[in-house]
């Protein structure tokens, strides 16, 4: 066998038929941002534009910070919490998102864990998770199969700079039988950490994901 055929065989072994993909992509496109009339500026103009924007941002930020310091004395306090979705979160519990975005939010204290989802998973199905934590926090997201008592997945989520962000979990294994999975958040930080999470059901990797409400 040639290298070419070896590579074809190796990659085809992990490939899955994706007959739905063109339709999914087309739907995603139709729900996406409409295309804008674009001009292609020369590279020099683009660089000049970037410099102007960055300079304006730095000057604006500096003047805003000076203004805040003048108003509140030496210690400038943040004007807004970066974690608005979790304002009414309770320690040790969770709330559904304030909007209809499907996220559950909450806080975990030191050495604390919170059960976020109890999910019935059918044989061949799997769960996909989006999760994030506040910039200082870090948590483990643990998925346990209550039927067998085994950990299905154990994922560490670092605190992300710049605020709360969602990350997608790939490669969750498929359930080998109809079973119950429990998804928990476990604190690894030395202080209370805020988190948010959303779960989706999927019928096998690559299938359409259905949000869990």
């Amino acid at each position: 066998m040639s290298l070419r055929s070896d590579i074809h065989a190796a990659m085809d072994a992990i490939s899955e038929p994706m007959p739905h993909l063109p339709f999914v992509v087309r739907n995603a496109i139709r729900e996406g941002e409409p295309p804008r009339a674009t001009r292609r500026p020369s590279a020099r103009l683009a660089v000049a534009g970037i410099i102007v924007v960055v300079t304006a941002a730095v000057v604006g930020f500096w003047s805003l910070a000076s203004h805040q310091a003048a108003l509140h004395g030496s210690a400038a306090k943040p004007t807004a919490r970066c974690l608005a979705p979790t304002e009414d979160a309770v320690v040790g519990g969770f709330r559904s998102g304030p909007t209809d975005d499907g996220f559950r939010t909450g806080q975990v204290d030191v050495n604390q864990s919170v059960v976020v989802y109890d999910l019935h998973v059918q044989q061949g199905g799997c769960v996909v998770l989006d999760a994030g934590t506040d910039p200082q926090g870090n948590v483990d997201v643990v998925v346990v199969d209550l039927g067998s008592g085994r950990r299905v997945a154990d994922v560490h989520v670092d605190g992300l700079p710049g605020g709360l962000r969602a990350l997608r979990s790939y490669e969750m294994p498929m359930a080998t039988a109809d079973t119950e999975w429990q998804v928990s958040v476990v604190s690894r930080a030395t202080h209370t950490s805020e988190w948010r999470m959303q779960a989706f059901r999927a019928w096998g990797p690559g299938a359409h994901n259905w949000p869990v409400r």
Binding site: I7, H8, A9, A10, M11, M18, T38, M174, G206
Partner: protein, 171 residues
């Protein structure tokens, strides 16, 4: 000097119509780069949305495939940066049937070797060997000169098949 593109909506509509032909090679490229079917699917979706929004930059009458594959390659690079990429798989893989075991092991070894290549080398190998693209298109998609693409391909072949003659490997 500014270049005013064609009517963006018309170009985007045209691009949408061509998607059916573009998606299979895009998926194969993403699969080769990421080696995960669902991640590859997500990368293709993201890339398609990105390409559709930028479709007005495509020259009328030009082949959209190399341009689209370059966007897919960039999307794959972003995907691999995500922290959750490395979710642990706890369930052991099913035991392979003995008759196909050798082939399965060889395939797994080769995929592992491909992942060890640098991103650009892997891109060149996947485009050339898995998507069967000519080296000129490979160079264009990877943003390399023809000589640069050829050099990377030869170097990758030596890493993947150290004992193989280049002419034999390039078949």
């Amino acid at each position: 000097m500014d270049v005013i593109a064609a009517d963006p909506r018309a170009v985007a509509d045209d691009f949408e119509h061509r998607l059916e032909d573009l998606i299979p090679p895009a998926y194969r490229l993403a699969l080769g780069m990421l080696q995960d079917a669902s991640a590859a699917e997500d990368a293709v979706q993201e890339a398609a949305l990105c390409a559709w929004q930028k479709a007005s930059r495509l020259r009328p009458g030009s082949d959209p495939l190399p341009w689209f594959l370059a966007i897919v390659a960039n999307q794959c690079r972003s995907t691999r940066r995500l922290r959750w990429w490395s979710v642990l798989k706890i369930e052991p893989p099913a035991a392979p049937v003995p008759a196909v075991e050798d082939r399965a092991v060889r395939g797994a070894d080769l995929r592992r070797e491909l992942l060890k290549l640098s991103r650009t080398d892997r891109l060149v190998v996947i485009l050339y060997f898995y998507l069967d693209m000519p080296l000129e298109d490979v160079a264009r998609i990877a943003g390399l000169s023809l000589a640069g693409a050829r050099g990377r391909l030869y170097r990758a072949i030596r890493k993947l098949r150290s004992g193989l003659e280049l002419e034999e490997a390039l078949r």
